[in-house]
């Protein structure tokens, strides 16, 4: 999906071969008042990979997702998505704060599912999913409708098209939210503790849908979750966060079975 923001300079972004770097954090620092949530963070995610962030609450995992979604802006450092700076623009060889238009273009490559679903309560299920494709991507009403129905079927809610979010269970709402995010055809899907607000018996349905998406599509995923078995199932890599830094990373089998770092062992013993 080429986007106007792709400049020739980023020749690698045109070919979306697996393995190309899709997201890159470069010395990113984020503070809230006196608290440094992210400290000179470097990390990257390759196209098609599923990366899970784990760590104690307050360790900065969600902040990473919110920075990527431009719900927050970094205090220092740069973030690149598909070769383009997210919060910056190159002007005359120097980096300057990006304009609204630039941010919007780069951001279109990213989709997000929130802990609290954040469905639009004033719109029925179908319109929640078609609203952005029609008004952001300029898709025709019919096409958006058609695609939305497919996605809603994918998450198993074809019966609920004409309901308002308040008429659905939490698990159903979250599945609609997943369909809504996918409808924008993002290259990266951010999942921010998507099952934390759900009653225990509803968690499995949502995770099944996500497993399905992870295994059958080539979408890149960045996941913050406390569901460790889910993380193990879908992840290519797991990053352990503590106090704004990555303390350890590796493939899930190694991370969960034989973690090297003391903090990782401590953390896993509390959640497993």
């Amino acid at each position: 999906m080429p986007s106007p923001a792709d400049t020739p300079r980023d020749s690698n972004s045109a070919s979306r071969a697996n393995g190309a770097e899709l997201v890159r954090f470069d010395k990113v620092t984020k503070r809230f008042g006196d608290v440094t949530v992210l400290d000179q963070l470097d990390f990257s995610v390759d196209t098609g990979k599923h990366v899970t962030l784990i760590g104690p609450s307050g360790s900065g995992k969600t902040t990473i997702l919110r920075l990527l979604m431009t719900l927050l802006t970094p205090d220092e450092g740069t973030i690149k998505v598909d070769g383009d700076y997210l919060n910056h623009e190159e002007r005359n060889g120097t980096l300057a704060k990006a304009g609204e238009k630039h941010v919007r273009e780069v951001r279109k490559k990213i989709g997000m599912v929130f802990q609290q679903f954040n469905l639009f309560p004033n719109m029925k299920v179908l319109r929640n999913v078609t609203e952005a494709p029609v008004h952001v991507l300029g898709m025709s009403k019919d096409e958006a409708d058609q695609r939305a129905r497919e996605l809603i079927e994918l998450v198993g809610l074809s019966e609920q098209l004409d309901k308002y979010p308040s008429q659905l269970s939490g698990g159903q709402q979250q599945r609609v939210a997943i369909a809504r995010a996918l409808a924008m055809r993002p290259q990266v899907l951010l999942l921010d503790e998507v099952t934390s607000a759900l009653d225990p018996e509803l968690v499995a349905g949502v995770l099944d849908v996500l497993r399905d998406i992870a295994h059958t599509t080539d979408i890149t995923m960045l996941v913050v979750t406390h569901e460790m078995s889910f993380a193990r199932d879908i992840s290519d890599a797991v990053l352990m966060f503590d106090r704004g830094k990555i303390v350890e990373s590796g493939p899930p089998d190694k991370m969960f079975s034989e973690p090297e770092h003391e903090r990782t062992r401590e953390f896993l013993s509390t959640v497993l």
Binding site: M69, T70, L71, R104, R107, K108, I110, G111, M112, F114, Q116, F117, N118, L119, F120, P121, N122, M123, E131, A132, H135, V136, R180, A181, M184
Partner: protein
Amino acid sequence: MTWDWNVVDDFMPRFWDGVLLTLQALVLGSLIAFSLGLVWAIAQRSRFAAVRWPVNIITEFIRNTPLLVQLFFLYYVVPEWGPSLTSLTTGIIGLGLHYSTYTAEVYRAGIGGVPTGQWEAATALSLPRSRTWAAVILPQAIRRVVPALGNYVIAMLKDSPLIAIIGALEMFGEAESFSNETFTFEAYTIVGIAFILIAYPASLLIRLLERRLAITS
């Protein structure tokens, strides 16, 4: 004291004229207050301080100074630079402008009551700002502010006699001129009761609406 029904009969035709004018002022004044208040409220959330500050100062000033003096200002000062307007038009603009600063607060509270997650979801979907306002925020905000807006219509009703002071003969103005001509008290009394008779059922209606909205949301 002797209540004279003949006086009442004499006054009634003018009373109805006045009621008509009161309602006219109320409807048009409300329309101005509702729409201008929304403009203020959105401007108060602008990204640009150069928009926010003047709007904040203007609305704060208008809200905290008397409507009566504002009506004098519109009636005597504005024609010195601009067009002369009739008493009624001036009164409607004055009522609408004054109450727009109250409805702005109502909208502001309504907009502030929309959860942050809604703004975030709109950002995550890259919805343009105008679309976010029109399709996501305002539909949710306005629903919950309807009763509060209704309350200000009633408040405006009770302030509507002020436009008689600059010469627009609504209910109270008719009563005043009638009483001055006839040296009687019945007209004032009737108009005073009329205000209560309109305001009370209206406020009951709004309380009912409040309860309905509280249940469904």
